[in-house]
């Protein structure tokens, strides 16, 4: 639904991102990207980018009424040698380079944060241990900004862990130098009342590899918007996601991969399980292959497993191709009920129903969990999935 507030012709900003701004993917946003919240009208809920989100549960993040409180969230960063961790002010030049806020809440976050964290991995540093960023909600309202930058040929794994209770809007920038390899596991394991809206911007350098694993379990409303663009040819991005949406929860993952540069690849796979009354999962997968992006190879997939009645999934893959000179492009989306035939098969081998369900759900998530590559995180996720299933029976 393209609305009346489309960008007027000729008003785009300079640079490659601006080309995206003229595309359908970008123009169905109600305002062009901006760091200033004043550039975005207060959403009323019928805009394409807000139509699935229950605005009344955003606790004022969208209309300016949410005000930061002193004890919003506590951020603790644990980093191995070779990593510089800094807390910087708003004027630091390293902020906001990977992307620009594309909706009002992201712009609100950018307009409202006071201090940002900048985590820098030195050029050619290969980290033996992950960088761990613990974001713990203390019950207040907070606006955040984090930058994770890898110098050329650096390799790092970052685990960002959200726990506790908070109303949090944030932007996270991932800046990958040439040949750098970054894996980010971002876990939303919030308490049940938390509200979390975040835009993740990755800018992938020449021949660099970016892997993102977004895991959402908790919260009342979680809306994560991972975005990827490429600074130079040869980059690859893998975006994986898992979510387990319970009764009453709204979990929304919106992705954009902007193939703005030739010979880059992307692979998106998000899987979710839902159970309980008014569990609502939203997945929007936008992939844009711009005219210049010859040799692009991309695939995106979303699968949802609905375990009970009363849950709702909105899954919208969207692939826009402006050049025919590509290596491959595809997308798939499927939402299915729990398969009774699978259950029958397993039970006919003596396996009790609850264990059979557990096997099927574990199996559903298995290939994605295996992508994480961090045994402690994998075990925690599996335990979490099991706990969610226990709660349902």
């Amino acid at each position: 639904m393209a609305e009346a507030q489309n960008i007027p012709a000729g008003s785009t900003t300079a640079g490659s991102i601006a080309v995206a701004a003229e595309s359908t993917v970008a123009t169905r946003m109600s305002a062009p990207p901006s760091f200033d919240v004043a550039d975005f009208p207060v959403p009323h809920g019928r805009e394409e980018e807000w139509r699935f989100t229950p605005l009344e549960r955003l606790r004022g993040l969208h209309d300016g009424t949410a005000v930061a409180t002193g004890e919003g969230v506590k951020v603790e960063i644990e980093a191995p040698e070779g990593v510089t961790v800094e807390t910087v002010g708003r004027d630091d030049e390293r902020l906001g380079r990977a992307g620009t806020p594309v909706d009002r809440v992201a712009a609100q976050a950018y307009s409202s944060f006071e201090k940002a964290s900048v985590v820098t991995v030195a050029k050619e540093a290969v980290l033996a241990e992950p960088i761990r960023i613990a974001v713990h909600g203390e019950g207040g309202v907070a606006f955040g900004h984090q930058v994770i930058e890898l110098g050329a040929f650096a390799e790092a794994v970052v685990v960002i862990d959200h726990t506790g209770d908070a109303v949090l809007a944030a932007n996270v920038d991932y800046v990958l130098g040439d040949g750098a390899k970054l894996t980010v596991v971002c876990v939303q394991d919030w308490d049940e009342k938390a509200v979390h809206v975040a835009q993740h911007n990755a800018l992938v350098g020449r021949d660099a590899s970016f892997k993102s694993v977004v895991v959402t379990f908790g919260g009342d409303l979680v809306r994560i918007h991972p975005r990827v663009a490429y600074a130079a040819p040869g980059g690859s991005a893998e975006l994986f996601g898992l979510y387990f949406t319970d009764a009453g929860q709204h979990q929304e993952h919106r992705l954009l991969v902007d193939h703005n540069t030739p010979h880059c690849t992307s692979n998106v796979a998000y899987k979710g399980a839902l159970q309980g009354q008014d569990a609502h999962a939203v997945w929007i997968g936008d992939v844009l292959i711009q005219a210049a992006a010859e040799g692009t190879d991309t695939y995106e997939l979303n699968r949802n497993l609905v375990l009970t009645d009363g849950a709702r999934v909105d899954s919208v893959p969207n692939l826009e191709i402006e050049t025919g000179e590509i290596a491959g492009a595809g997308h798939a989306s499927a939402t299915g009920r729990f398969d009774d035939e699978q259950l029958f098969y397993l039970m006919s081998r003596g396996i009790p129903e609850i264990e059979a369900r557990r096997l099927v759900v574990r199996g559903f998530f298995a290939e994605l969990v295996q992508q994480i590559g961090l045994p402690d995180v994998e075990e925690r996720l599996i335990a979490k999935i099991e706990a969610e299933l226990e709660a349902s029976v």
Partner: protein
């Protein structure tokens, strides 16, 4: 000695215009050590019999009894039936993505045996059973039935039969879709289990081909939802020569 007794079994399925009766009074008794072949034309209700005994929720029992050593099988849930010793080798085994064969087999054996098999002996047991069925060891790491060929699916079913050692094995069209080599390998697996004398076998088939490898003690002709004739192995030869025509009047096999 384990005995499965089916008495006057009536089974319906939900059809568009209300329930439709598929089984119309089946009587059959299978004792440990015996092999019964149930043969019949397509649509006669053979598979319904198999799935009803295993407890598939699609089928509604409207009358009759099924007991295993006097215990009411129809009262049991699907998994309870399996643990009581009823095994169904399916014609169309289901894919379970993300669940490896080795995990599945061990979970299943643990459930049926009531305790987890000791890891060392278990690994050996599975390995030997797979070798006998000419299965590559890599097979154990694949996901259950995912991307299996027809022959691999059936071997996997018989592998489970060998490992779970049921009292009553129901083989639903295990021969369908198999080439001669695969049929021989699968039949040898069934025969190994039969030779223990510990299992009663209900072999459901459309064709007589598999009976060259698995010699039945009894042959039953199934038509229009019930057993219409019973005899020894010679009845299979008669069916081979004459087909099912004399049992199917007025297109009742539809």
């Amino acid at each position: 000695m384990a005995t499965l007794e089916i008495h006057d079994l009536h089974v319906s399925v939900e059809a568009e215009n209300g329930p439709r009766e598929i089984l119309k009074g089946v009587d059959l008794t299978i004792k440990q050590g015996e092999t019964h072949a149930v043969m019949g034309p397509n649509g006669s209700g053979k598979s319904t019999l198999a799935y009803s005994l295993a407890g598939h929720p699609k089928y509604t029992i409207t009358g009759g009894t099924v007991t295993l050593d006097g215990e009411d099988v129809l009262e049991m849930s699907v998994d309870e039936r399996a643990r009581a010793g009823v095994f169904l080798a399916m014609q169309y085994p289901v894919e379970v993505p993300g669940v490896s064969v080795s995990n599945f087999l061990r979970t299943s054996a643990t459930a049926v045996r009531g305790e987890a098999p000791k890891l060392r002996t278990w690994v050996k047991e599975v390995k030997e059973a797979m070798e006998k069925l000419h299965m590559d060891p890599a097979f154990a790491e694949r996901n259950v039935n995912e991307g299996f060929s027809g022959g691999e699916k059936k071997r996997h079913e018989i592998l489970q039969l060998e490992l779970l050692k049921p009292k009553i094995a129901i083989l639903d069209e295990t021969d369908s879709g198999l080439d001669v080599d695969a049929l021989r390998i699968v039949s040898e697996g069934v025969n190994r289990v039969r030779e223990t004398g510990e299992v009663g076998t209900l072999l459901i088939t459309h064709y007589t081909r598999i009976l060259r490898y698995i010699k039945p003690d009894f042959v039953h002709v199934f038509a229009n939802g019930r057993i219409v004739e019973s005899g020894g192995a010679e009845l299979a030869d008669q069916l081979e020569n004459e087909g099912y025509d004399k049992y199917v009047k007025g297109g009742a096999s539809a």
